[in-house]
Assembly symmetry: C2
Homo-oligomer: 362 residues x 2
């Protein structure tokens, strides 16, 4: 186990960290100082459904009679640069997260939104139905403020609280950690995989062809959206977590781990085959145990990575083009569950840009 | 009562509307075709508090013991244009709304975010604590999907459902109405005026001097934030709805209306006087009844407008600079509760830009 520093000691190192961050951000700023030339930006709701109360609307008593509720849409903020490339990138957050995932990093550097705008891609950021700015759902929900941030510190492989992993690609100052904790937001109502995939399906109907970028929980929903909508021309998936789909007869056995059992999902061969028509790349970060571990925060990723390899094999066996990049295997170390916002996210973005280029998608 | 067309008939007019919108948006696009030059953009959480469970964190059982929850922050997305003006604009949504208020209009035109970026202002959009992307609060909350959109159609003075007001500055096609309904989002936990004002206070501590732009429910919370933070150098308030503050001995009697009683709030003279040191302008739209009406959707605005006039008088009596602009009184007709996204929002923005210029704030 690689362990570096105790989070409670980081106060002592704040001055040093501030100096380093300041030095880095100066370099950063110089490198990225040219303005972003935005031809168009805006937001809209897409997908969703409507419920309506019986009766007739009464403008005096204003009861629910005859009134409607539009909900279960996704909310989308988009920016299109001048001289845009053919395909925009649609970025879809993971569990407990929202569009912020792709915006400023916890330590205030540029995230994928800006990085890929600067690479001339149109960028669409999603809040999935019943999350963040798409909070208006058709189902009731309850929010209970349960302290759970140290759990996520572990599950997202920043370290083993209160220790950061050795050489982790995550800033170890307290202000960044606070921003990281505040970038989670609760669900408003139940997570519904079909509702979410349908909203993203509707988005691609609206905007036409593009590339889907998923993270964690949206990985599995992304396979589903791509099976539904041929406008999804490629998928880049960071650390997909669940709902790997296989055709009948090829579904792997459930994979036990100390964070629970990971099961795969069966879909018809004709549905599965749709995923063999587009290029797909999957990235996983560092500090995923190779052997079963009693640390559930990490161990879940061991079986997900295994499943991802088996899934890519199945796709390729059926004539598809799927690739799993386990970052430490290509010499990139220390990445957490959020490689796109980690300290080395410019390098991580370059990998993705190169892959897009290699596949003729840029 | 000025009434134009039945919303259920608008399907018949969709082709015509589509033609008009298409013609308009072509003009629009030509006028605004120069790209937005963004020097910097990003997002962050600001303000808020933390709760912590007793005990020690256990990485195996992952119970809540020893874990934290950071909540009650505001979420802020900001953009700073090249050649920015001295003061950025901080835009704060109203009741049931979120930052979307200032983004694309229901019919997809540019809202205040883009309009003022193009006028070289830095623009900060807030989601207040427990709303939208700032959904992670410290208090529990329950969401019940109650059909109430026809009520809001009336309260926001688009018309009297299903009729639009005559010459209302709102698009009458169904797609725009659907976007309008979907731009509301529920609270996650109770609305807490102090928590909200504190978060905006913290924002101005972080960014320094700027101008606060409020809408409806944030109007009253905006007065409070300005009393807390001298970095707020001016306020532009669209249709403020509640929490008008007066010094002891000058608090008006409650104002009855068919939507309930509007009360003012007493604050100390020294607090009140802080609002006399900055320029303030308040705008109200059209279709506010002059005499008491049995239509609660409209009648509430009659007493709010009255209260706003009395409030501006009080501010000016104490040496301040507050102005109420009732748009129909200056020859601008048909505006709803959302003048900044209405069909004539470029004209409405020009009024605001002229006011900022007049006050030397540009």
């Amino acid at each position: 186990m690689k362990i570096k520093m105790n989070a409670s000691y980081t106060g002592m190192l704040m001055v040093l960290v501030a100096l380093i961050v300041s030095a880095c951000s100066t370099t950063e700023r110089t490198a990225s100082q040219s303005p972003m030339m935005i031809a168009e930006q805006g937001s809209f709701a897409v997908g969703g459904s409507t419920i309506q109360s019986e009766g007739e609307f009464d403008p005096i008593d204003l009861s629910t009679d005859g009134q409607t509720l539009h909900g279960d849409h996704a909310y989308v903020f988009y920016q299109v640069p001048v001289d845009k490339r053919s395909y925009p990138l649609v970025m879809w957050h993971g569990f407990g997260q929202f569009s912020k995932t792709w915006e400023s990093t916890p330590d205030g550097r540029e995230g994928y939104q800006n990085i890929f705008l600067r690479k001339d891609y149109g960028v669409y950021l999603i809040d999935q139905p019943r999350r963040g700015n798409a909070g208006k759902g058709t189902q009731p929900g309850t929010y209970t403020p349960i302290p759970d941030e140290q759990k996520w510190f572990n599950v997202f492989r920043v370290g083993q609280w209160p220790e950061y992993f050795t050489d982790v690609q995550f800033p170890t100052d307290n202000a960044s950690l606070e921003q990281y904790f505040r970038q989670m937001t609760p669900d408003i109502g139940p997570i519904d995989v079909d509702v979410n995939a349908d909203a993203v399906d509707a988005l691609f109907d609206k905007i036409g062809e593009g590339i889907l970028v998923t993270h964690s929980h949206s990985g599995g929903m992304g396979w589903q959206a791509a099976m539904q909508n041929p406008n999804i021309k490629a998928i880049v998936s960071y650390e997909p977590g669940s709902n790997f789909v296989f055709p009948p007869g090829e579904v792997p056995e459930p994979k036990p781990s100390s964070s629970g059992e990971l099961t795969a999902k069966e879909v018809s061969l004709s549905e599965f085959n749709k995923l063999t028509t587009i290029p797909i790349v999957i990235y996983y970060g560092d500090n995923i145990p190779e052997e079963p571990s009693n640390m559930p925060g990490q161990d879940g990723w061991r079986v997900r990575l295994e499943m991802a390899y088996e899934w890519a094999d199945a796709i390729n066996r059926h004539g598809g083009d799927a690739q799993v990049v386990h970052l430490p295997k290509v010499g990139i170390y220390g990445n957490t569950h959020f490689p796109f916002s980690d300290l080395n996210n410019l390098e991580i973005a370059e990998l993705m840009a190169d892959w897009l280029s290699e596949k003729g998608l840029d």
